[in-house]
């Protein structure tokens, strides 16, 4: 077993894996989860616990002046326990995304931001021009930018070049649950970038998460797959196992694919 791991891992321990490190911060879990769309706050809290995620995403929105208590996610999730990653979801221009990122930073938790600049209301695909412009501004202002992007290598390279702390290509559109549509693109992005690659959006069920991690990416961020599961807590556990499983399979190095069968039992020693 020992010879199958990549050389940078301890050769005597098949479970050895380096932590996920983003902008100098290390995380044990390679699964990140969102906090949106749960049927109840209790479901959300229990599912996030079951996912064993350390990084959880949150959105920035106006306080509802008439009912303020329940709405804030911090009344339910402890910022001491989780690393809060604010997003700029819902922003359609670079300026808007920069404004949301600045507001999020003033909340006082960290200078990380999951940058989204959306280009189309139907598909929620990113506006890559706006994304790059916003990323450059925020990097200049000292933000650690985790950029939600499509599965295009050139955009990913440009985002890395702009100084993004991590690149977050989609598996498939946000909230679609269609799984990993283009494994080749994701593998290529991972192969070509030095920055961490976190697949964000599109994972629908555990096998999607496992296949995604098998491509060698550094982590996965998901939300709807947990929030809209019939049992979010059970799905969170399944996703946690799938991410770990896919990561291990990647580190183990899969067998080659063949177009022909190869017997697993000896061909010699058969009875006459």
């Amino acid at each position: 077993m020992t010879g199958t791991l990549s050389p940078d891992l301890a050769p005597t321990d098949t479970l050895a894996d380096s932590p996920l490190t983003i902008a100098g911060r290390s995380f044990r879990s390679r699964l990140m989860v969102g906090t949106g769309k749960y049927r109840s706050n209790e479901d959300m809290v229990r599912a996030i616990e079951a996912s064993r995620a350390e990084i959880v995403t949150v959105a920035v929105r106006r306080v509802d002046l008439d009912r303020t208590k329940e709405a804030g996610v911090l009344y339910h999730l402890s910022p001491a326990r989780y690393f809060l990653l604010a997003n700029t979801a819902g922003c359609y221009t670079a300026d808007e995304a920069v404004r949301y990122a600045r507001l999020a930073r003033e909340a006082g938790f960290n200078d990380f931001v999951k940058l989204e600049v959306i280009g189309d209301r139907e598909t929620l695909l990113p506006d890559t021009d706006g994304l790059l412009a916003a990323a450059r501004t925020l990097v200049r202002e000292g933000f650690q930018v985790l950029a939600y992007t499509n599965d295009d290598l050139i955009t990913a390279l440009r985002l890395e070049d702009a100084g993004c702390a991590a690149i977050m290509p989609l598996a498939s559109p946000i909230g679609s649950g269609l799984g990993l549509i283009n494994p080749y693109s994701i593998r290529t992005i991972k192969r070509r970038l030095a920055a961490p690659v976190i697949v964000d959006a599109g994972v629908g069920t555990a096998s999607d998460a496992c296949v995604t991690m098998e491509q060698g990416v550094d982590g996965i961020l998901m939300n709807t797959a947990l929030a809209e599961a019939r049992d979010p807590v059970a799905m969170a556990r399944a996703m946690s196992l799938a991410v770990e499983s896919g990561r291990l399979a990647h580190l183990a190095g899969r067998m080659p694919r063949r177009e022909v069968a190869m017997p697993s039992s000896p061909t010699r020693g058969m009875l006459e």
């Binding site: 769309k37 959105a59 920035v60 106006r62 002046l65 303020t68 979801a89 507001l103 939300n223």
Partner: protein, 73 residues
């Protein structure tokens, strides 16, 4: 800010609201029953950092935005 004055009409999150004047941003948050540690404030498009909320006066016609973290992906 002990002297009482006329109510100020300001825009808060796009809604026209009256707050007792004179008022700082911290007074506005207290008037709305908001915990300053849970909210980030913008005054006329500029972020006001938390330590400065109590020293930032609100004027008639100001536009205030108050945001916080909600569930999201």
């Amino acid at each position: 800010m002990s002297t009482t004055g006329a109510a100020l009409t300001v825009s808060i999150n796009g809604e026209s609201r009256q707050v007792p004047g004179p008022a700082t941003l911290l007074d506005v948050l207290a008037h709305l029953g908001l915990d300053a540690r849970m909210v980030v404030a913008e005054l006329n498009g500029k972020i006001v950092r938390r330590p400065h909320l109590g020293g930032t006066a609100v004027a008639e016609g100001d536009a205030i935005e108050l945001v916080h973290f909600v569930g999201g992906g």
